[in-house]
Subunit: 337 residues, 3 copies
C-alpha cells in the first residue's frame, strides 16, 4: 500500500523534513532500500550507511537528521516508528470469512460469522471462536477451547481441551498448547504413576507464541501466559508456570513447572529455569543462562560461558576441575598444567 | 466422579481418620481446595497451609495427621496416593470406538473394532492398531506401524514407517517418531552423503512421550525406548539411542546418536548428552548438564552453572579466562582485575 | 535389492578381494552382520570385531584387509563407501505420482505431472511443485511456495507463504519454515509492537532439515540456507540468518537473528549462537557451546562444561563464585573452603 510522507508523519507523530507528497510503498535496510522505500536508522553501527542511502525516506533521531541526504521523519524511537510504518504499508491480508468445506467442525461449536476456518482444521465440541478469528490450515482445537476476537492461529497449531486464548493472540505453526504436564509419582517399585493433569492453559490478550513451542496445561491450577507476552520458537513452558505481562522469551528457553516469571522480563535464547521459582518483574536473563534460585530484584542475570578456541578452553577446564584442591597449591609455584 | 472416603481408603490402602461416608468429586491444592475436594500434603514447605485447609480430606503422612483439621487418609507416600486418587476421581474419558469418516485409512491396515481413529488421521498400509487404541485428530501413521493395546496418541502425532509402540503408550501432540537419523559421510569435496537410515523406533509398554519431542529411527539397528520411560516435551533422541526402563527425561534434553542410558535414570531439563556413551542404571543428571563421558556408577552428576548478577558473573568469567596463565602469577600480588 | 560384489566394487571404485559373484542384499554392523550382508570398518575401536565377522563382505582400508576373514572391498574411506553401498542396496521407494483425493490443492498451483501429493496435504495459491517432488501426508504449503525438483517433504511439514526450496531438498516431519521472526519494538509503555516480517525462507539444493526444526522468515531480507547444508531436529534458525553451503548443524542448536555462518562449518548439539555475528568458513563449534562473538578464523571453538559428580562440581562452583575476590587471597594460605 502506498502512503505519503504526510500520512506517515501524522501516523507516527513525527516531524517531517522533506516533500510531504513523496509516496512510499516498500521498506528496506538503510544500506539496500531504494526509491519508493522507507528505511530507518536506530543503531549507531549502521550510521555509516546514512550518507549513501537511496531510500525515499529515513526514520531517524534528531541528532542524525543533518546527515540525511533524503527526506526524513524525525522521532525519538525510529525502530518503533519503523514497526508502525511497516505495518501501515504492509497490512495483514484480511482472511475471507467462512469455514473451508474440508474442515471438521463440531455442531456444538460457536463460531462467529466473521471467522475464517482454514482447510483441514478440526474444531471440537463447545469451542467458541470470537469475531475475526482466523485458523490457518490444519489447526486442531479439542473440545471447550475459546479463541478471543482477532486472534490468528498459524498452520497446524494445536489447542488441547479447555485452552483459552485472549484477543489478538497470534500463534505460529506447530505450537502445542495444553498437552499434559510432566507429572509422575514413583511407586514402591520405582515405576512412574501418572498425575492427572487437570488445569488448563490460559493466554492473555496480545500474546504471540512461536513455531513448535509447547505450553503444558496445569496440573491442578492453570498455566497462565500474561497479556502482551511474546514467546519465540521451540520454547518449553511446563505445567503451572505463570508468565507475567509483556515478558519476552527468546527461542529454545525451557521453564520448569510452577515457576512464576514477572512482567516486563526478558529471557535470552537457550536459558533454562528450574521449577518452583519466583522471578521478579523487570528481570533480564541473558542467553544460555541457568536460573536455579528465585530472583527478587530487577536487573540482569547471567551464567552463559562464552566460547574460546578449544585449546584455550581445555586449559580453563583443566584448571577449573582442580579448583577444589587445597588453596595453598595455587601460589606454590608448582606447575599443574 | 464422586467417591466416598471409604472407597478411597480401600483403593489407596490408607488409614482413614474421619467420616467414611464423606464424598469427594474434585481435587485442589492444600491452600485452595474447598468442600467436596481432596488434597494432599507431601512437601514440608506446604505444611503451613494444613491448619487452615478447607478440603474435605487430606492425604498425608502419619506425622502430619494430628495437625489436620478435617478428615485425612494416612499413608507413607501421599503424593503417590494423590496420583491414584485423582485418577479415580477423574477417569480419562472413554473414546468412542470408530473411524472418523474424514480419516484416510489404508485397506491393508488391521484395526481392532474397539479402536478410535480421530478426524483427519492417516493410517498407512499394513499398520496394526490393537484393542483400545485411540488416535486423536490429525495423527499420521506411515506404513507398517504397530500400536499396542490401550495406547493413546495425541493430536498430530507422527509415526514414520515401521514404528512399534507397546501397550498403554501415550504420546502428546506434535511428537515425531521415526524420522531419519542425522547420518552423513563427507565425500572428497566435503559434501555430505546421506547414510540410509534403516532401523526403526521401538517403544516399550507404558511409555509417555511429550509434545513436539522427536525420536529418530535407527541407522542400522533400532532406537529403543524402554518400558515405563517418560520423556517430556521438546526432547531430542537421536538414532540408535537406547533408553532404559523407567527412566525420566525432562524437557529440552538432547541425546546424541548411539548413546545408551540405563534404567531408573533421571535427566534434568536442558541437559545434553553426546553420542556413543554408556550411562549406568540409577544415574541422575541435573538440569543443563553436559555429559561428555560414559558414567559407570549410579549417583548424581552435574555441570550446570547457576546464574549470578551479570557484573558478578563477568568478573568470574574474566578470571576463568585467565586461568591458563602460569600458576605463579596467581600468588604474585599482581592485580589482574 | 541384491547386488554382486563386482557391482559394488565398480560402484564404489574399490578393490575387491574375494569372490566377485557373492551377492549381498542387506547391511549390518561389523559385530552383527550375517551372511548376505555388507558391513564396514572405519573406526579403530571396532577393529576387534573384524576377525569374527560373519558378514559377506567388509568395506575397509588397505591396512585392515589382511585381518579380514571374509571378502572385502578396499577403499580410502569405508564410511563414505558404506553410505553409497547402502543407498544402492536400499533405494528409496519411488512415490506414485498423483494427488491424493483428500488433499486440498489450489487451482492456481502449478504441479508437474510427476509429483506425489499425499493425503490431507494443503497446497496454496500459486505454489510451484517441480518434477519428482513428493509431499508426504499432512504437509501444508501456504501461497507462493516453490519446491525444486526431486525434493521430499516428510509428514506434516509446513512451508509458510513464499518459501523457496531448491532441488533434492529433504525435510522431516513437523518442521516449520517461514513462520514470523521474533521482532518487536517496545513502545513508551514498554509494550511490544510487532515488526512485520516481510522476508522469505530460501533453501538451496541438497539441503536436509530435521524433524520439528523451525526456520523463521526474514524480517526485511531473506533467511537463507546454503546448498548442501544439513540441519538436525529441533534446531531453531531465527530471522535473517544465513547458513553457508555444506554446513552441518546438530540437534537443539539455536541461532539468533541476522547471524551469518560460513560454509563447511560443523555445529555441535545444543550450541547457542547469539545474533548479528559472523562465523567464518570451516569453523567447528563443539556441543553445548555458547558463541557470543564473531569468529574470524577456522578452527575448533568450545565452552561446554563437562559433567562431574555433583559434590565435586559443587566445590568447583563454590570456588568459581569466589574468584572475583582480591587475587592476593589466593596465595595467602587462608582456607576458603
Amino acid at each position: 500500500m502506498a502512503v505519503t510522507l504526510a500520512q506517515l508523519a501524522k501516523h507516527l507523530g513525527a516531524e517531517l523534513r522533506g516533500d510531504a507528497d513523496i509516496r512510499v510503498s516498500g521498506v528496506g535496510t538503510l544500506e539496500h532500500a531504494g526509491p519508493g522505500e522507507l528505511t530507518f536508522l536506530s543503531q549507531s553501527r549502521l550510521r555509516k550507511h546514512l550518507p549513501n542511502t537511496r531510500a525515499a525516506v529515513v526514520l531517524l533521531r534528531q541528532v542524525d537528521a543533518q546527515d540525511c541526504p533524503v527526506a526524513c521523519l524525525v522521532m525519538d524511537d525510529p525502530y518503533l516508528g519503523y514497526a508502525r510504518a511497516s505495518a501501515l504499508i504492509f497490512p495483514e491480508p484480511e482472511a475471507q470469512p467462512g469455514i473451508h468445506p474440508s474442515a471438521v467442525v463440531d455442531d456444538s461449536a460457536q463460531i462467529h460469522p466473521d471467522v475464517s476456518v482454514g482447510p483441514l482444521c478440526v474444531v471440537g465440541a463447545a469451542c467458541v471462536l470470537e469475531q475475526g478469528v482466523e485458523l490457518l490450515a490444519g489447526c486442531i482445537l479439542e473440545r471447550d477451547c475459546r479463541v478471543g476476537a482477532g486472534s490468528r492461529l498459524g498452520p497446524r497449531v494445536t489447542l488441547c481441551h479447555g485452552t483459552h486464548l485472549g484477543k489478538r493472540v497470534r500463534i505460529h505453526g506447530g505450537a502445542v498448547l495444553g498437552a499434559d504436564g510432566f507429572g509422575f509419582a514413583p511407586d514402591a517399585e520405582r515405576r512412574w504413576v501418572k498425575i492427572p493433569q487437570l488445569g488448563r492453559v490460559v493466554v492473555g490478550d496480545d500474546v504471540e507464541i512461536g513455531a513448535n513451542t509447547t505450553i503444558d496445561r496445569g496440573a491442578l491450577e492453570d498455566t497462565v501466559i500474561g497479556e502482551g507476552a511474546k514467546l519465540d520458537n521451540l520454547v518449553m513452558v511446563a505445567h503451572n508456570v505463570r508468565i507475567g505481562a509483556h515478558t519476552a522469551i527468546a527461542g529454545c528457553v525451557g521453564i520448569a513447572g510452577s515457576t512464576r516469571i514477572g512482567s516486563h522480563c526478558a529471557i535470552g535464547g537457550g536459558a533454562g529455569i528450574i521449577g518452583h521459582l519466583d522471578i521478579a518483574d523487570g528481570v533480564t536473563i541473558t542467553a544460555m543462562t541457568f536460573v536455579t534460585r528465585s530472583i527478587r530484584e530487577p536487573g540482569v542475570y547471567a551464567s552463559g560461558v562464552p566460547h574460546a578456541p578449544v585449546r584455550e578452553w581445555n586449559r580453563s577446564l583443566a584448571r577449573l576441575r582442580r579448583l577444589d584442591r587445597p588453596v595453598r597449591r595455587e601460589g606454590s609455584g608448582e606447575q599443574e598444567d
